[in-house]
């Protein structure tokens, strides 16, 4: 150790930077965690919002080859009990509608829809759909940050990467690590700490498929309650919502 110290001293005198040994930052930067908390707290203050999300996703084929597909999701939320999400990508063109009483999933390309009774809040809806039907509420993170559903305990690494501009908006970029995913988020600077960009890298497959999302926000959307109620188009067929494999066996 003494020899190392002497070597370091010599290097330092010689003007050589020794960053790795100089100062180890903590694995979980408290500043990054508090920025995340602040974003969540802010999101939960929004009574209604509209957000357009441009997404890319990747599938991994048997041989490790990755296939990317892209899409858009447009969300209108009236907290805590109104949600309209329109998802359009290479696979689906679907509308998710929730009015606080029932939930309808409309598959536009087939002109089929399924309606089920729903719990009283978006948060509970997300859990019910997930557990009973294997249906994910699109961009569900937006409804979970700032709630007990988001557990900071899962985060094993957090870095404040620095300033970054997303679509002309000045943000601060943060990078987080969890057991099964690494993820990065760009949070708008200033009084409106909104997520502007999200990248999730899945680590459970060595090919590491990625999801990316860019958010364009409207915090003063105009809408009426009919926006959350499903009005079947001409010829639309009512069908059933498939039970999740785990729920079906119960």
């Amino acid at each position: 150790m003494r020899r190392l110290s002497r070597t370091l001293a010599a290097l330092a005198l010689a003007g050589v930077a020794v960053p790795a040994l100089a100062q180890q930052p903590p694995a979980v930067d408290p500043g990054a965690m508090s920025a995340l908390q602040a974003m969540g707290t802010y999101l939960r203050t929004l009574k209604s919002f509209q957000v357009d999300v441009a997404t890319t996703d990747e599938d991994v084929l048997d041989d490790g080859q990755k296939i990317q597909y892209s899409g858009t999701t447009s969300i209108l939320a009236r907290m805590p009990n109104g949600l309209r999400a329109e998802v359009s990508n290479d696979r689906h063109e679907r509308t998710y509608l929730y009015d606080g009483k029932s939930f309808t999933l409309f598959a536009k390309r087939l002109n089929y829809y399924a309606t089920v009774p729903a719990p009283p809040t978006v948060g509970e809806l997300a859990r019910t759909l997930d557990e009973q039907y294997d249906v994910g509420v699109p961009i569900v993170d937006l409804f979970r940050w700032g709630t007990p559903s988001f557990s900071t305990a899962a985060v094993t690494g957090a870095i404040d990467v620095g300033p970054s501009v997303v679509e002309g908006v000045t943000c601060q970029q943060y990078a987080f690590r969890q057991d099964d995913i690494d993820w990065q988020i760009w949070i708008q600077k200033g009084d409106y700490p909104l997520p502007r960009r999200l990248v999730i890298t899945t680590k459970t497959d060595e090919a590491r498929p990625q999801h990316t999302a860019e958010y364009t926000w409207n915090l003063a959307p105009s809408f009426n309650d009919a926006a959350f109620v499903f009005d079947p188009p001409e010829g639309a067929g009512k069908v059933v919502l498939a039970k999740a494999a785990s729920a079906a066996t119960k």
């Binding site: 997404t55 996703d57 990747e58 599938d59 991994v60 084929l61 048997d62 041989d63 080859q65 296939i67 290479d90 696979r91 689906h92 063109e93 999933l105 598959a107 536009k108 390309r109 087939l110 089929y112 829809y113 399924a114 859990r127 997930d130 557990e131 039907y133 294997d134 249906v135 994910g136 961009i139 569900v140 993170d141 979970r144 940050w145 559903s149 988001f150 969890q178 099964d180 995913i181 993820w183 999200l198 999730i200 890298t201 899945t202 459970t204 497959d205 090919a207 498929p209 990625q210 999801h211 999302a213 067929g237 009512k238 069908v239 059933v240 919502l241 498939a242 999740a244 494999a245 079906a248």
Partner: protein, 143 residues
Amino acid sequence: MNKTIRISLAVALALGVSLPAQAGKNVRSSARANVNSNKNVNVNRNVNKNVNVNRDIDIDVDHHHHGGYYGGCCYHGGVGTAMAVTATAMVTAAVIGSMVNTLPSGCSTVIVNGFAYQQCGSTWYQPQIAGSSTTYIVVNAPR
């Protein structure tokens, strides 16, 4: 492998129908799309996502790659189910309760008790919307 699957596969082979595993590539996993999740969404999804070649967008929404790649289908059930699904789809000797991703040709929509069914000859299918795709369950004639 249960008897039904074995028979279906045998029929498929006898008819000279190529099995889809040879025709395209399977999706083994997908990117997770949310940081927050109730559960590990990737568990078991890879085993039974089957590639379905030449899927027609008009028949099933959920994909329209006309080549050898198809993702996002059917992660209900296990490997056996997935095999049964494909085998049944190939031959129309449909077993009640089995699931297919695409309908045979010549089906018509029939509304029974407010719900839409597909009648394809003597076989009836109940469409069901699932999280990843829309599938069809073979049912007894609903009326």
